[in-house]
Assembly symmetry: C2
Homo-oligomer: 325 residues x 2
């Protein structure tokens, strides 16, 4: 939950007057997103979300994120569509912070998605990849393959405070990934953080994707690895192969996986587990007592990493044999 | 801001199915209220607020609060109206906690109200007092006159950690109020916490009153004293007599103050300042590092108390001489 910046009634009224949105009817901080301040904004023209970008977001990246949402919405992806003011600007300043108004998406995020719902996520992920293929923005993945070594060094031996041997596990995994990293796989813009919090459903229908603030250019199949980690493990840590099968079936119904991507799937799942293990370990070791946002526990991603390490091929994720040829 | 209880999509869908509200379209935690968990709930029938009552609210008081909002809304007061389920219940259970759905009020709460807006608050307060006059519920004021001695003892000498001499100031003021407390003034149900956070405006028009969870039976003029403390001091601590004059004019345009109430106004303003000074002092001394809700600074209410101590009569609050006779 997060509202870091207090915005007064005068502030919001003056800000909204720049847009063709009529008068402000409601303005409430909402407990959504951990990096930014988010508000429900109701005007005479409907419901919107106002986001104030706080310091963890690099302001230089904002044109990429706003442009990407504009592009995806125009292509029919159900994502927040940036609202442009009377002079055409979508990225503005409010209370000294970069700020944007986007459209409000209906739906609820799920804590316990069903296999059918996970299948819808796979489909939406592939649609997102294809819709972004002709987007002309580029953003390197700051939390990608090249950044992990640095993150691991900043955690250092203290990782063992979380679990004995964790520092060595991380070092070994980094060495493995450096050696085994698949070259030449299809890439493009990926969401990179498509966890259940960031997907809305109305019943079994996926109604929207939100929070594009980790989006970047990277391997498409790596994004699929992130989603397998995010959606296909139960709260007790058990891997749910039915969900993984539905995730992959949903994805491949829209975009066919190349055989090289299929071969690389266990490695990319390991990589995705390591990425969240590293950031959560770092945040855990550097947590501030009393901070508004509690850091996530890294351990579930250590367990997921171990599962993927034991996977001997894509069939561990439920891909049927005929798809493997 | 406050969302203490996580409610899953399955939980909320099952809960809302008890009502005649159609399907859930949106469900988001909102940063409003400090005692309870509040959610924006959008269904096919419109926008609502779902509140889960957390442990600081005594569940035995909830029928009073729900009944009061029902009563006030029926009388035309713009306040949240409890929604009753298909069997007629408005007070239910969700995730093991008492819970209620109320209607959603448009409007924005103000950080810097104008004198005209403060006048609207005075008018709304009097309308609230009169509308509740025939409400048949009763709730003693747990934070009223009779409770302060106990609260002061629980703060004890440690109050001086906040400001040197504060413990003695509190003891002296308690002694003064015990001696000077006005008997026989008109009483009824009061809001008891009508701070700017709890009043919504659309432009200069007051669009709603919220958060009735301190409402209780007490002196009407004491509620006015609370509002003078809450609305008529600037952020630098200065008393704004223009706002107080408008507050009183707004109130008396709806309900004439008796001369005994006018005489007692400085005492009741002192009492109201002491009440918030005491609770804030207690919360400050017993704050928990890392808690979600940061305690309010007690000092502004010490300064307000000193202002009221220096007031020689109701004219200090801008009541014109002719009203005093």
């Amino acid at each position: 939950m997060a509202v870091y910046t207090e915005v007064s009634a005068d502030d919001i009224n003056a800000f909204v007057a720049d847009y063709d949105l009529g008068a402000v009817l409601t303005f409430k901080g909402i407990a959504e997103g951990v990096e930014n301040s988010n508000y429900l904004l109701q005007t005479e023209k409907g419901n919107f979300i106002l986001t104030l970008y706080e310091k963890r977001v690099d302001a230089r990246d904002l044109p990429f994120f706003i442009g990407l949402m504009d592009h995806l919405a125009a292509k029919g992806i159900s994502c927040p569509r940036p609202v442009h003011d009377k002079t055409g600007d979508a990225l503005k300043t409010l209370c000294g912070r970069p700020a944007a108004i986007v459209t409000f998406l209906q739906g609820i995020s799920l804590k316990r998605p069903s296999p059918a719902q996970v299948g819808e996520v796979g489909r939406a992920l592939a649609e997102l990849h294809l819709a972004a293929a002709d987007f002309d923005g580029y953003r390197a993945n700051a939390l990608g393959h090249d950044g992990w070594q640095d993150l691991a060094q900043r955690c250092g031996a203290r990782a063992d405070e979380i679990a004995p041997g964790l520092a060595q596990t991380i070092a070994d995994e980094l060495q493995f990934l450096a050696r085994a990293w698949p070259e030449g796989l299809p890439e493009g813009v990926i969401h990179a953080d498509l966890f259940p919090d960031n997907v809305f459903f109305l019943g079994d229908r996926l109604s929207g994707l939100i929070d594009f603030y980790f989006a970047c250019n990277d391997l498409w199949a790596y994004d699929l690895g992130i989603c397998i980690n995010a959606w296909c493990f139960e709260s007790d840590g058990a891997f749910n192969v039915t969900k993984a099968r539905r995730m992959l079936a949903g994805y491949t119904a829209v975009r066919r996986l190349e055989s090289r991507e299929i071969d690389a799937l266990p490695i990319l799942c390991r990589a995705a587990a390591l990425r969240f293990l590293l950031t959560r370990t770092y945040d855990w070791l550097n947590r501030v007592e009393g901070a508004l946002v509690k850091p996530h526990n890294p351990i579930p991603f250590l367990e997921r990493l171990r599962f993927h390490q034991s996977a001997t091929g894509a069939q561990a994720y439920g891909l049927e044999q005929e798809r493997l040829t």
